[in-house]
Structure formats: C-alpha cells, structure tokens
Amino acid sequence: MSTTQEKKAPDAAAPEEIQSGKDERRTLFIHGNEACAEGALYAGVSFYAGYPITPSSEIAEIMSRRLPQRGDRFIQMEDEIASLCAIIGASLTGSKAMTATSGPGFSLMQEALGYAIMAEIPVVIVDVMRGGPSTGLPTQGSQGDVNQVRWGTHGDHSIIALTASTNQTLFETTVRAFNLAETYRTPVVVLYDEMLGHMRERVVIPEPEELPLVDRLRTNVPEGVDYHPYLTRDDGRLPMSDFGGVHRYNVTGLYHDMWGFPSTNPQTVDDLAHHLHDKIELRADELAFAREFHLEDAEIVVISYGSPARTARQVVHQARINGQRLGLLELQTLWPFPARMVRDACRNARATIVVEMNMGQMYYHIRNAVENPRSVFLSNRIDGRFISPKDIRRVLRIVEGQGE
C-alpha cells in the first residue's frame, strides 16, 4: 500500500506543477490513513511507536518508511500499551510523537492515556474505528469508540478529540491535533472510521508554512537555575524542558506539586484536578471546530461527524434542491463537547436528526445540549455497512409524520 504511495508522489506532483507554475503543492490520490500520515509528517512528527492493527496499519507502514528517511524514529512495539508509553517518553524528551491504532488497541492504551493526561505530555493518538466491542468487525467501519475516548481512562479528566469527513480535512485535522497537543500539553485523539481510513480521494498537500504549526513552548530558565515543570504561567501555559537535558525534574501519574513530586496536599490535588479539567473544558468554544451547510434558515438540523457526515450532507444537498429546509452541522471537534455550538445550531429548528454509526453515543450529549431534547432523533447504523441517504431519509420521514 505504501509502495503505491511512494511511487505516486513524484508522479503526482507533475500535473499540478504544469497547471500552476512553481506551486509547491502536491495533488495526491490517497486514502484516509495516508492523508493522516501526510498530515502528521507535515506537522513535523519525529517519533512513531505503534503496533499495527486493521484498519489503521497503513499509518504504521508509511511511518516505518518515511520517518527513517527524514532521520527520525519509527519503532514497532510489542503491543499497544508499550506503544503509547514509548511515545510519552519520546515526547518528554522533545519529539513530536504519535501512535495509531483501532478499538482493541485503544482499549489497551487507556492506562497510559490517563498518565499522559495527568503528567501533561503532548501526544497524538489516532484511533481508526472498526466495529466493536472486542475484536468485533476488523474490516468494517463504526463510530463505537466516541465515548471510550472521553471516558475510557479512569478518574475525572478532560480530553481533546477531533474528527474529519474528507481526506483533505483529515490532513488538516491531523496537523491541528499536533498543534493542540503542543499548545495545551495534552494527548489529542484523532478519531475516524474505517470507511474514511480506506477511502481514496484527492488531497492537495499545502505548501510548507501554508498551515500554521505550533512548536513546543520551551522554558527559558537557564541551566543551573530551578525549573518547575508544573508551574503554570499567567497565560495558563506550562513551558517544557526536554527530559534528559539541562534540568532535573520528576514526572509521575500521582497528584503532584509544581516540581512534579507526589503530593496528597488537598489544595495541590484540588488545584491540579481543576487545572486538568479547566484547561480544556473552559476552552470548549475556542476548540469547537465544525463545518456548516445551509444552517441559516434550517427547519430541520442534521448533526453528524466523520464519514457519515458525507451521507448527511448528500441528504441535505438533495433536500435543498427539493425545496426542503434542511441544514447540516458537521462536528470536527467531539471533545470537549461543543455544547454551545450545538445549542445555537438547533435553536430555531423544528427537529434535529443525529447521524452516527453507533447506538447514539453523541446523540445523548446533543439531547442534553439543546433546549428541547424531545426534538432530537437518531439515525444510525451499527451493522458494519456505511450509512446511506436512504437510511437518513427513512428517519426524516418518520420525524415529518410521513411514516416509513
């Protein structure tokens, strides 16, 4: 698969160059996993550790070739537990680090995920969802991990999870994931389904510097002067120091003080718990990325995310041609939950239809967010088949009182 990608790259650049002179952008025809990998490379990933699993394996395959070519590191680990632990360590030493997996592997990562949240270590974890629970449906898509991402690891915590519905937006979303991980010193999950992972379409790779990249904020405390790894600046940010470099400090999964040493002091515990929660939840509006289609005068609002949002958009597109006032809110941020955005989008709607490929994992959050929960309906599919316009139209008819 990645051999294809290798051969394609130089060839792919040619027609684009002819069309637009010295444009450095490359037009590629690639699947979602390739788009995600390209996005990570664009964002400057310099360390990948992982354990291949369908339907995410191509990401590891591409990284195993491309990272060593750039002088960076790829390690195939013995399992997913070790994979996440490895990238946490790599990130602490200064690398932009990532791993990719699917549901069964993501389950194994939960403990280390909590550690990365607690120790505030930026990492990017890609979860290409397949049908679950357990080994489930390896080659078929699902969106069954949405709530696992939110609450899979124990204890009160907060997390950022992003998704996309096209390979172009997946590329950009992956870049954004690295930026947010570095900005907020937190794990960011890129969540999409098998359908997108293995679907090929046109992706235009932006020129270098066309998309903003966030580099890690490093401390300017000089060598020999005390550096506090968990002392928050006025602006809420925590400058880092590459572990193993000039500063000595402690990192732990226990509640800790500004030195990183374990503490059970109630004030310290309370402050840290609130800090971990607030640094993400209080920015829910700022982090709420979405695409909107025909929402302005929509009587029925469809809310979807990931590849099912394409089916939803098709239904909205067709409905508009037929004169029906449908609109689509396509969520690109799942966590922190964009409650205000959802509430605003649905405020003037007669009904809201949530389209997802699970048993309503976002549906319940959307019900909680809107003013009239009874106006929210679910259109879903959980049999491994991709949701079709017909599936959504069936629910639409019921909502409109037109029967099945």
């Binding site: 294809t4 051969k7 394609k8 060839d11 792919a12 027609p15 069309q19 037009t27 590629l28 025809f29 390896p138 080659t139 078929q140 359908m195 293995h198 679907m199 090929r200 379409e201 046109r202 590849s307 394409r310 089916t311 958009r313 098709q314 597109h317 991709f386 079709s388 316009p389 017909k390």
Partner: protein, 198 residues
Amino acid sequence: MIWKLVIGGVGGQGVITAGIILAETAVIQEGRYAVQSQTYGAEMRGGLTRTDVVISDDEIIYPKVDQTHMLACLHRKALASYHGLIRPGGLLVTDKDEAPALKRLDCRQYELPFAAAVRERTGSIRSTNLCLLGAIVQITGVVQMENLERAVQARYPGNADALQALRLGQEIVAESGFRTVHLGEDARSGRHATSARL
C-alpha cells in the same frame, strides 16, 4: 456530471487495484474529482471484494455507489451478489468464463473473455484486472484512454504486460462488435448523465 461504477470479484484478482487506477486517472491525470472505496472480508484471497468508484467534475459528497451506471465482474460470486446495484438500463461487463452474464438482467451486457485472452497473450492471468479496465474505459469513455495508459505506466514502470493487457481490453471490446457507449458524450450533449439511456 457524475459517474458511478462498481467492480466486483474475489480477493487476489486485482479488482480494488483496478478501481484505484481508474479513479487515480481521473484525479491525477485529468484534474477531476474521484472517490474510490472498497468492501472486503478478513481473508487475503478468495473472499468477495468490491470497489466503488465515483468520478465527477465537481466535489463528491457521498462516496459510495448505491446504484451503478456500470457493474464489472470478474467472478460469478461477485455477479450474484452485486447485480442488484445496476441501475435499470445500465451496463454489465463480465468475464465470459468466470462470471457468465445473467441474461434476465435489464441492462446492456458485455460478456467478454478477459482472463482467457490475457492468458493467451501474456502466459498468465495476472493482468486480467487491467484488461478489464481497458475494456471499461473503451466502453464508457469515463476517462481518456491515453490518460489511463499514463496512469498504468506510472504505477508499473517498465512493465510491458500491464500496458499490453490494457490495450487487449480495448481490442476485445472493439472486436466484439458491441457498440461502445461513451458516457462522456452524453454529458457533453447536455443530457443528464444519471438519466441517460445507455
């Protein structure tokens, strides 16, 4: 204009590769939009496989094919499973020996000896998928033949069999006496593609 095509077969026949090359031709060689997706089981070989290809001059929203302008099949199992996808009056392209056409289907049927011809020409059936691809493009005109050749050459540099198989597919269609249906001409004449009588 939007073309929706489905190619079916069993794992190992190169059906998905054929779909990728076709869609890639539209995107990379012709600067158009295309989406290619597939469904397959956990098996590496022998399981039912299907690839959906949507090609358009505009952005493609819904990526799958629920009703196809053309179904091409290299295996009878695939034909049995997917023939219901053909839109009334659509096209069916099948391998004469591996997937004999179903005469009762309401569609224009091309039943041609792809595998046998490729074996005779190259000594192996490996390139049957490319032969089928040559035929599909000859029949439908969904992309330009020279662009398809360019895409195949880029993917298999220096592989003479690949190009030969592609041209063989063209020849087989030309020699069969079947009328070729250029979807593209329908489009240019202003008729809506999805309602074009094929």
